[in-house]
Symmetry: C2
Subunit: 299 residues, 2 copies
Amino acid sequence: MTKETISNEFKLLQTSICSGLEKMDGTASFQSDTWERSEGGGGRTNTTANGTIIEKGGVAFSAVHGPVSQVMKQQLGLDGDAFFATGISIVIHPSSPHVPIIHMNVRYFELDNGTYWFGGGIDLTPHYIVPENAALFHKRLKAICDQYHAQFYEKQKPWADTYFHIPHRNESRGVGGIFFDHLSEDSSSLTKKELFDYCKELASNFVSIYSEQVHLGKDKSVSEEQVRWRDLRRGRYVEFNLVHDKGTKFGLFSGGRTESILMSLPPLANWHYDYHPKANSDEETTLRYLSSPQNWIVI
Amino acid sequence: MTKETISNEFKLLQTSICSGLEKMDGTASFQSDTWERSEGGGGRTNTTANGTIIEKGGVAFSAVHGPVSQVMKQQLGLDGDAFFATGISIVIHPSSPHVPIIHMNVRYFELDNGTYWFGGGIDLTPHYIVPENAALFHKRLKAICDQYHAQFYEKQKPWADTYFHIPHRNESRGVGGIFFDHLSEDSSSLTKKELFDYCKELASNFVSIYSEQVHLGKDKSVSEEQVRWRDLRRGRYVEFNLVHDKGTKFGLFSGGRTESILMSLPPLANWHYDYHPKANSDEETTLRYLSSPQNWIVI
C-alpha cells in the first residue's frame, strides 16, 4: 500500500465520480484543470457549471509533497521533515433549493518518519431539511461504516456535528454526516489496507448516495422565496467555509492553490440584515433542526 | 473628554451620517435596530436596502463595556481588567458597478488602568478603478490628515495598504485610504481632544467624500457583464472580511453581535472557478491596479 498506489486510486476515483455526476445531471460536463505546485506535486481540479441539477460543482484531486513548513509544524503539530498528502475533495451546489448541497473529502497523509493517517468525511446541507431524507443519508453512511468498524458511525457522526458547526450563528451547517481524521492502524483496530478500502468505499458510493438525495427533491416546484432562502443558506455555507473550516483556512494561510480551495464556494450567495423567516414556515422549521445536532436515524 | 462625551458624539454622528446618506441616495431610508449586550452596553445598528444608489448599507454605533475576557487578553494583549469601547462602523454596497463600495470606522477604547486609544480608517473599493477618482479620494483624506498632523497621511496611507490586502489573492481590496490604531497622546504629539476631533472630522466628511465618488459613477450605463464583475468583486470583499479582517474575526470569535458585524457583507456575491477577465479589458486594468499598492495622489 504505497503512497503512489493510494494517490493513483484516488485519481481514478475522481474520474469515475465525475462521470457518475455527469450521468446523474444529464447535461453537466466537467472541465479538467491540471496544476503544479512549485514545492512538489500538483493536482487536477475538475469543475462544472450550469448543468441541469448542478449549478456549480468541483471534484478536486491533489497529490503534493515537500518539506514540512513552519506553518505546518505550528498549526498541525507535525513531527517530521517531509510530507506527502493526497486526496479528493468534492462540493456540489445544486440549483434547486430542494436539492441539498453535498461535500465529501477523503485524504491520506504521511510523514518521512513513517507515520501516516487517513482523514475525510461526507456531509449534507439541505436548504430545506426533510427528516426522512436526512435519515436515509445517515443510514447509507452507517451501512458503509458498519462494514468496517462497529464504532465508526457512532464516533464519526458526532465528530461531523462538532466540525460542521457555525458558532457565530449557533447553527449546524446542515444535517451532518461523518467526519474522521488521524485514522491509522494505531488509532483503530484496522489495517492500512482496510482503512484505505473504507475511504474508497465512501468515495465509490458518493454518486449513488447523492443521486438518491437529488431524486427526492429535483422535481419539486420552486418559488422565488425559496430561491431567496437557498441563497441565504449559501451565505451561511460561505461563512462556515471562510471563517471556521480548518481545511480552508489552513490551505489559504499555508499558500495552497486558492482557486482549488475556494472551489467550495457557491456560485451566488445573499446576505440580508437580520433576516428571520415567518413563524411556522418551512424555513423556520429548517432553522429549528439546525439549532442542535439531531439523531436523524431514529427520527 | 469623558467616555460618555465621546460615545454621545459618535451616536449623534451616526444620525447625521444616515440623514446625509438618505439625502444623497434620494430614496434610501435607514431602519434603526437597538440591541443590548448582556455583559454591558449595547448599540444601534442602522441599515438600509434597495435605495436608488445604495443596494445595502449599514451605519452601526455601539458603546460596550465589561470585564476584559480571556480572548481579549490573548488576542489584543490587553493589560487591564475592565474595558469600554465605542465607535461607528459603516459599509455601503452600491448597486451600480461604477460606484465604489466604501467603508469607514472610528472608534475609542479605554481600559480601567487609565490607558486609551483611538482607531479607525476609511477605504474605498471601486469595482472599476478610475485613477483620477482614487486620487480625488486620497486628496480629500490627506487634506483632513494634514489639518491634524503632518505625518498622519504619510503613515496611515501605507497602513491601509497593508491592512486591506488579500494575501490569498495577492490583491489589494481596493484603492485603500487611511488606517490607524492605538492613537493616543503617548503615540502622537496631539492631545486627546485633538485626536477625537480628528476622528469626528473624518466622520463628518464621510458623506461629502462618498457623494463625490457616487456622482462620478452613478450615471454611467451598466452592462450585464459589468454587473457580473461587480458581483465577483463583492465575492472578494466577502473573502477579505471573513478570512482576513481582524475586526470581523475578533468580533465573531469573542461573541460579538453577529448581525452587526456581518452587516459589512454585500447583498449578493458571485464565485466562478478561476475567472480571468479578457486581455486589455477594463476588468483586467482594475486587477492590474490591485496587484500592488499605488501612490494615487501622484498618478
